[in-house]
């Protein structure tokens, strides 16, 4: 947690100081709280936070002071850049996996199918730019998953593997994730929005 007091300072100084603190946290991310004394500075801070893919909120304090809190999740800003660079000249294909089985029917068959599906994705030319995991799909990215080797190969081939952090927390498996990067909904939406085509499982 970093606290920055920007009262009495005018833009762009509060934005520059905040951006520097966020950058200093690196990929690990963290929380920065900034005190400003006018609403325009608050708006500029949140504009910057949104643009860089961070979550932010604010609270009105006494004496016209506003406290802006910016949460930098793991590697949020870094992912964004990867997306921007890669979507220029690649397949533009994003694979979104929101469950741990494939198709409706016997779950046992579903599990066999999803393993086969991920294996087959690995053989695609060109490869997808991103593979996204959310809801029960996140269990496929744990080190106990029987798809973990395929996913690691995809990652090694520069495919961005993004895992929904809310979901891994919900299922209590954050520690077990063995591939890819934990992201937030912003990261997922950005990847989907920059896709040319999406396969939804």
């Amino acid at each position: 947690m970093t606290n920055i007091d920007c009262t009495g300072q005018v833009c762009p100084i509060p934005v520059i100081r905040t951006k520097k603190s966020l950058a200093a946290m690196g990929e690990a991310g963290g929380v920065v709280t900034v005190l400003v004394d006018n609403d325009i500075s608050r708006q500029n801070l949140q504009k910057m936070a949104t643009g860089l893919g961070y979550q932010s909120e604010y609270q009105q304090r006494d004496n016209g002071i506003i406290e802006v809190t910016i949460v930098a999740g793991e590697g949020c800003a870094v992912e964004q850049q990867t997306i921007a660079i890669e979507s220029d000249e690649d397949s533009g294909l994003v694979v979104a996996i929101g469950r741990d089985t494939m198709g409706a029917g016997d779950p046992e068959l579903g599990k066999i199918l999803i393993k086969g599906f991920i294996y087959a994705v690995k053989e695609l030319t060109p490869l997808p730019t991103h593979v996204l995991f959310f809801n029960s799909g996140v269990s496929l990215a744990t080190s106990e998953s029987n798809s973990i080797e395929d996913l690691r190969e995809l990652e090694a081939a520069s495919v961005v593997v993004l895992i929904c952090g809310t979901c891994t927390n919900y299922y209590g498996i954050t520690e077990k994730i063995g591939v890819g990067e934990i992201t937030n909904m912003y990261g997922i939406v950005t990847a989907m929005a920059s896709a040319k085509r999406i396969i939804n499982i």
């Binding site: 005018v10 833009c11 762009p12 100084i13 934005v15 520059i16 951006k19 006018n38 325009i40 500075s41 708006q43 500029n44 504009k47 910057m48 643009g51 860089l52």
Partner: protein, 340 residues
């Protein structure tokens, strides 16, 4: 070397009171009626125009602000060029100017001398004469001019009378506000600062002189309210305009700085003010910021018939090489400003 900037909380036209706030206060003032006042503040035009006789009107304007650059002489030049600009934007010729000075007791007087010398240079260049002034002590230094000019009352360039089918020309590049913000944050490169200062110091006289050979339907100068607010002001009730995003001239580094969030409070105020008047669509964040960027001593923004716009542009480009045709005027649409 004294530090002009460290005495200031905000400088240049970025320190203007927001257009929304301002109109709230102005609306409470009584309306003055005098048929000889051809242009008053009700039209939020650049300067007042008062008719003397059938062939002569006087144009009167006042402008001052606190420093946005460290060098006092540059600041003097910029403040004077900015104040004189309103006369040019109305189609007038400056006759004489009065200095307005606020200065801290604690600062060296040499710097004030430099500020006034910079201002005097620009008054000379404009062909006007310096004829006096007024100075007081103040916490923050401020400088500007009250300028009086002359004008043919039949050829006033109002700011809100464009005709559908006109094309729009912007004479100076956008981005000086963002570059000055980057300078404040000690993140601006020297080249960018040079380009911005040179642009702010340049009189709009030369572009205006070229314009006098052409029919001009509307003209204003871009100030702290930014391009979009001035564009909206120009459309009035009767027209809309479309701006060509790819044609907007700007100082290259300003685009990068905007992308790095070296952004101003005034730019955000301008953005808030324009909500509902423009659909930004998929415009990149940096270009959005440039369109909202508060300009100090900005360029002229003018509307002229399409038939002569290209020829007019070529003439203006002889003195303002970065001038561009940046849009056109349409019949009234659902929004005043459209982007293409």
């Amino acid at each position: 070397m004294i530090s002009l900037l460290s005495n200031c909380t905000s400088g240049g036209c970025g320190a203007k009171i927001g257009p929304g706030e301002l109109s709230k206060v102005l609306s409470r003032l009584p309306a003055f009626c005098d048929p000889k006042l051809l242009v008053g503040f009700d039209a939020s035009d650049d300067a007042a125009v008062y008719q003397i006789n059938a062939d002569t009107a006087i144009v009167s304007t006042v402008d001052f602000f606190s420093p946005m650059v460290e060098d006092p002489r540059s600041f003097g030049r910029i403040a004077a060029a900015n104040a004189l600009s309103d006369v040019y934007a109305m189609g007038g010729t400056p006759l004489f100017a009065l200095n307005l000075v606020c200065y801290p007791e604690s600062l060296e007087l040499d710097a004030l001398g430099e500020i006034l010398a910079g201002g005097a240079e620009k008054i000379q260049e404009s062909g006007a004469v310096l004829s006096g002034g007024h100075s007081i002590y103040d916490k923050e230094p401020k400088y500007g001019l009250a300028v009086t000019g002359r004008l043919d009352p039949k050829q006033i360039w109002r700011n809100n009378t464009p005709a559908p089918g006109d094309q729009l020309i912007l004479t100076k590049p956008l981005g000086v506000g963002i570059i000055m913000a980057a300078l404040r944050g000690e993140m601006a490169d020297e080249q960018a600062v040079k380009a911005a200062i040179s642009s702010m110091q340049r009189l709009n006289k030369y572009a205006a002189e070229k314009m006098h050979s052409f029919p001009i339907n509307a003209c204003t100068d871009i100030t702290g309210f930014g391009l979009l607010a001035h564009a909206r002001e120009m459309t009035g009730e009767a027209t809309s305009m479309v701006l060509y995003r790819s044609e907007l001239p700007y100082i290259q580094q300003a685009y990068e700085y905007a992308g790095d969030y070296l952004i101003t409070a005034a730019g955000q105020r301008n953005r808030n003010h324009m909500q509902g008047f423009v659909d930004l669509g998929d415009t990149s964040f940096a270009l959005q910021e440039l369109m909202f960027d508060p300009q100090t001593s900005g360029g002229l923004f003018l509307s002229a018939p399409k038939a002569c716009a290209q020829e007019l542009l070529s003439a203006i480009q002889e003195v303002e090489p970065q001038a561009k045709i940046v849009g056109e005027v349409l019949l009234h649409q659902n929004l005043p400003i459209l982007l293409r």
